[in-house]
């Protein structure tokens, strides 16, 4: 029986979809059977980020309303054998699915897959309640901004009230240089408020935008720091103990030289 994990944040734009895509790809690259579920009905994104938009025939609402069988709606990823996507509907809204249906769907998916990862919509309304209904555990994504941290705190409270205990935290778009200057919240600042286990820290990286726009995932990029961060998070999800990596960008003449000759 597989595990159902919801990726949520409260605030929009902090990187839920990017995180979902990267964790899914990372797990699939480790030979796991993975199904990504886009629960953001009406604002479908995950298919675009994965570069699978043009393969959609049926969606999640077609499955819950019985228009098609689950198997028919699942899209196989073009690069990874074990990776599948259940896309959101674009022409409906969040009320097209209810939490009971989502629970049934998750139960069915977990029989087939090692990991079912649900991309939760922003907000705390029905879309959120749908997304968390069938989940065993939750990952909360935040960025080092007071508004994102505030919303993450609200979400953690709602998750605990829904009996999703001990959610794990991913800090996204972290900029060590700004933190060192005192211009950005540090990991400790966020931990002081949120006080939940840290699953990983993903540094701000242009490469995320570059890969996303090509329908690829940065987790497959061996050279980027953010890709390394996502690979570490993937291993932690699989139960490995991986220490937090050093996010400081190498500086000084020596490392600049090493970079020039491609040693990284």
């Amino acid at each position: 029986m597989g595990e159902v994990i919801v990726v949520t944040s409260g605030k929009g734009g902090v990187g839920k979809t990017t995180t979902t895509a990267n964790l899914g790809t990372g797990l699939a690259a480790a030979s796991k059977k993975v199904c990504l579920v886009d629960a953001d009905i009406g604002l479908r994104n995950l298919d675009v980020v994965l570069g699978l938009e043009n393969r959609i025939v049926y969606d999640i609402v077609d499955v819950t309303t019985g228009v098609c069988r689950l198997r028919q709606a699942l899209i196989k990823d073009k690069r990874f054998e074990g990776l599948h996507l259940l896309p959101a509907a674009q022409t409906k809204d969040k009320t097209a699915v209810n939490p009971e249906q989502m629970k049934e769907l998750c139960e069915e998916l977990r029989k087939e897959f090692d990991y079912v990862i649900i991309d939760c919509p922003a907000g705390i309304e029905q879309g959120f309640r749908n997304a968390i209904a069938g989940a065993d555990r939750a990952i909360v994504v935040t960025t080092p901004e007071v508004s994102a941290v505030r919303d993450a705190d609200r979400i953690i409270g709602l998750l605990e009230a829904a009996d999703l205990r001990e959610p794990k935290l991913i800090i996204n778009r972290y900029r060590p240089k700004m933190v060192n200057r005192g211009d950005m919240m540090s990991i400790d600042d966020m931990n002081e408020i949120l006080a939940i286990d840290l699953l990983g820290v993903v540094p701000e990286d242009e490469q995320v935008v570059v890969t996303t726009n090509k329908g690829e995932t940065v987790v497959r990029d061996d050279k980027s720091l953010s890709g390394q961060a996502y690979r570490n998070i993937t291993r932690r999800i699989m139960g490995e103990n991986v220490p937090l990596m050093n996010l400081e960008e190498p500086s000084g003449l020596f490392s600049a030289l090493r970079k020039m000759i491609g040693l990284k």
Partner: protein
């Protein structure tokens, strides 16, 4: 609102035996951190064993004690009791209200004491003082 009631019920029902005698009819013990959006409303005293995060709210007709960091909005003596006090291990509120007084921390002055503090009304103004156990 519903959160508040749930908090009260669970706090009363799940008390360890040794703490039970500390709670009279009038005091509720909240055994967790209050996160953004969560609130406790109580006709009496409120004691929180955890933090009160920004965006969380406590309204009590009596005193409020926070055994952690108080960063949210709290209102003690909500029915007009000007003798009510607010005590926190780390007093960093968004806003403090006692009876009909409303105050917020000064904007320019950045003091960050790491000891417990007590807020109460003295001579008609809300004052913050270092907490020591024999306060009068």
């Amino acid at each position: 609102m519903t959160n508040g009631i749930a908090a009260q019920n669970s706090a009363i029902n799940n008390l360890p035996v040794e703490l039970e005698e500390l709670v009279d009819d009038n005091t509720v013990l909240v055994q967790r951190t209050l996160r953004s959006g969560q609130s406790v409303y109580h006709d009496g005293n409120v004691v929180v064993l955890g933090d009160v995060n920004p965006g969380a709210e406590i309204v009590a007709t009596g005193n409020i004690v926070v055994m952690g960091a108080l960063r949210g909005v709290v209102h003690a003596g909500a029915k007009g009791d000007a003798n009510a006090v607010i005590l926190a291990f780390r007093l960093r509120p968004t806003q403090l209200r006692i009876a009909n007084h409303i105050t917020r921390p000064p904007e320019e002055e950045i003091s960050d004491p790491d000891y417990p503090e007590l807020a109460r009304i003295k001579n008609g103004v809300v004052t913050i003082e270092t907490f020591n156990s024999n306060f009068k």
